[in-house]
């Protein structure tokens, strides 16, 4: 009798233990599911906010300079953003102008300012090999120089690093001028060859750069008449540039700041509005000079064909 009671008690204990184990497992699985759902939600919000920010920036990259100019004065970052988030309410003029880019579950607020920033005299930019980099000189002070410092990748013995500078100015009376210069890199820099190859001697118009700024080789472009445009073409090497102005610094482009945010109630899993997980920022700097290409600096040019008298 006692044995039967003991066996029943043991069975009950086993059942209770099994039930407890099952419940604990169930709770664990449940909590894991909730956590996973929450994480997926946060991930989704993160990507939605990121996507919104990028889409806002892309939308503004497509705008022409004159359109972007309309945002400069009244719709800069300080007018739209604070440390806590978006300014509320957002300035009506910016909303009317298109600073807010709406999507179904998210939105982006986009601010525009000039580049380089006010007070800065140096413009830093890079360009791929054999491409023409346009530098805006409108408003630059005639009679002064613009200092171009550039750094190429390592040269080979046969590919001496050189750079072509095409300076465009208006000479008045509807006439325009092109002044061309060619420069070699500063000889002592490690990425520059020790001396120009013989075929590119001084008699071939080579002008060796005599100054450098750290690892950058520098030369001056004198600005005459009314400065308009400087095209730089680094041959053989891609290059990074530091371009320093004396006097007035012409705007070189636009700094576009786009902040994407998930809208309230956009998804289940709880609200993340105003949290850092649901707001992402993208900044893109864009040139204000068109990428005309090499062709516009030559009297006759073909992209893929020959030029032949026959």
């Amino acid at each position: 009798m006692i044995n039967k009671n003991c066996q029943a008690g043991q069975a009950l204990l086993l059942v209770l233990f099994a039930i407890t184990l099952g419940l604990v497992s169930l709770v664990g699985v449940s909590m894991r599911t909730v956590t996973s759902t929450r994480r997926v939600f946060i991930d989704n919000a993160y990507y939605k906010a990121q996507a919104a920010a990028e889409a806002g920036a892309e939308a503004f990259l497509l705008k022409a300079n004159r359109q972007l100019d309309t945002f400069l004065d009244s719709c800069g970052p300080t007018k739209l953003f604070t440390a806590q988030g978006f300014v509320s309410p957002l300035p009506a003029v910016c909303v009317a102008n298109g600073s807010v880019v709406e999507f179904s579950e998210s939105r982006a607020v986009v601010a525009v300012e000039t580049y380089p920033a006010s007070g800065e005299d140096t413009y830093e930019v890079s360009a791929p090999v054999n491409t023409a980099l346009g530098i805006n000189l409108v408003g630059a002070d005639s009679g002064r120089v613009v200092e171009v410092c550039w750094q190429g990748t390592s040269s080979t013995s046969t590919d001496y690093a050189e750079i072509l500078a095409f300076y465009y100015s208006e000479a008045g009376g509807g006439t325009f001028k092109l002044t061309q210069h060619k420069h070699t890199c500063y000889e002592s820099l490690p990425w520059c060859s020790s001396s120009p190859p013989g075929s590119y001697s001084a008699s071939a118009g080579v002008r060796d750069s005599k100054t450098h700024l750290g690892e950058y080789s520098c030369f001056d472009v004198p600005m005459t008449d009314t400065p308009y445009l400087l095209n730089l073409v680094a041959l053989v090497n891609g290059a990074t540039y530091k371009i320093k102005f004396a006097g007035h610094v012409p705007a070189q482009g636009y700094k576009i700041t786009s902040i994407g945010e998930v809208k309230s109630g956009a998804a289940t899993g709880g609200s993340l509005v105003s949290s850092s997980a649901a707001r992402k920022k993208v900044v893109v700097a864009r040139s204000n000079t068109p990428r005309l290409g090499l062709w516009f600096n030559f009297a006759a040019a073909s992209e893929t064909g020959e030029l032949v008298a026959e």
Binding site: A57, L61, K63, A64, N65, R66, V125, A127, N130, T131, A132, G134, E162, L164, Y168, G174, T175, F176, L178, T179, Q180, Y200, A204, G205, Y228, L229, N231, V236, G253, K280, K281, V282, V283, V284, A285, R286, S287, N288, T289, P290, R291, L292, G293, L294, W295, F296, N297, F298, A299, A300, A301, S302, E303, T304, G305, E306, L307, V308, A309, E310
Partner: protein, 330 residues
């Protein structure tokens, strides 16, 4: 009587001899040259830039080089990059003929091989999309350049209308209305067309147009006919000083062979304002042999106005598009 006859014969013989000697100096070959800027070819393979220049004496204004130094004082010593550069993707073949008739490479301003072009011409459709200026309904579309007084802007027109308008320049100059901007751009609106944009007469702007200029953009071939050009003027200095026969910029995005063709058929020398831009081959077939004086079949004079105006135009049109400098995330 007999003495007179002998004297006459002698004079005639001297004249014939001089003429023969003079004609022996004539350069009966096809050649071209540029002024104000250089030449660029992105073709893979040999001889992407090819021309044989005539011999010029050191005192001549013209030089045997492909890129002319032009009127500067003192007389320049070639080469100097300041006059322009020759950039070839691989090889080039620019030679000069010596007095003895042999050829040797010229000492041109600056020659460089560039392994591949980092830039690409804009897709043709971008020009078409950017052509948003409206041709007035009252305008005779067969006379776009002479009867419509179009203002600077980018216009679409059919190839037939562009060709008709160019043919209407027979004895006339093109008009550009006084307005903001400097370029009147005509874009062929039927990109599938395989026709040729034909320039059969000189393309010059009326004086009131000032520095405003015409730009022709096509997806097909451009042919410059034998009527285009001018008989050579008296001196080389006069040649350099005269207005261009084609005061227009030509752009074609076709890779047809050739993309731009300056046809033979006359001895007129053609002076064209550059940049002259093609995606495919550019062929100069004009032989402007004028006897003792040697003139280029084609002379491309770079006009910086086109580059500056295209840059200015793009501020509002975003035709070429800017380069994104850098992206940062936070």
């Amino acid at each position: 009587m007999a003495i007179g006859f002998l004297h006459g014969t002698l004079v005639f013989s001297v004249v014939v001899l001089c003429a023969a000697v003079g004609s022996s100096h004539a350069y009966a070959a096809v050649w071209f040259t540029t002024y104000g800027a250089g030449v660029l070819s992105g073709q893979e393979g040999d001889a992407s830039i090819k021309t044989v220049q005539p011999y010029f004496s050191p005192t001549d204004l013209f030089k045997s080089t492909l890129v002319q130094p032009g009127v500067v004082s003192p007389v320049p010593t070639m080469p100097d990059f300041g006059y322009g550069a020759l950039i070839a993707r691989q090889n080039y073949d620019v030679k000069e003929t010596s007095l003895a008739g042999a050829t040797s490479p010229t000492e041109d301003a600056f020659v460089k091989h560039a392994e591949g072009m980092g830039d690409a011409l804009p897709e043709y459709q971008r020009f078409v999309d950017a052509a948003t200026s409206t041709i007035p309904a009252s305008c005779n579309r067969a006379k776009l350049l002479t009867a419509c007084n179009l203002a600077p802007g980018i216009y679409k027109a059919s190839l037939a209308n562009i060709n008709s308008s160019l043919n209407d320049l027979n004895g006339q100059k093109y008009h550009v209305a006084p307005n903001e901007g400097g370029l009147l751009i005509l874009v062929q609106e039927d990109p599938a067309s395989t026709g040729t944009l034909a320039i059969n007469y000189n393309v010059a702007a009326v004086p009131s147009a000032g520095s405003k200029r015409l730009v022709l953009v096509t997806n097909g071939r451009i042919a410059i006919g034998p009527n285009v050009g001018t008989a050579a003027p008296a001196t080389q200095a006069a040649y350099l000083a005269r207005e261009a026969d084609i005061q227009a910029m030509l752009i074609t995005t076709t890779t047809s062979d050739p993309s731009i063709d300056v046809l033979a058929g006359s001895t007129k020398s053609v002076k064209i304002e550059g940049p002259l831009i093609a995606k495919g081959k550019v062929r100069f077939r004009r032989n402007a042999d004028a006897g003792i004086v040697k003139w280029p079949g084609v002379f491309v004079e770079f006009n910086p106005m086109y580059t500056t105006e295209f840059a200015r135009l793009d501020s509002s049109m975003a035709l070429f598009g800017p380069a994104a400098i850098k992206w940062t995330y936070d």
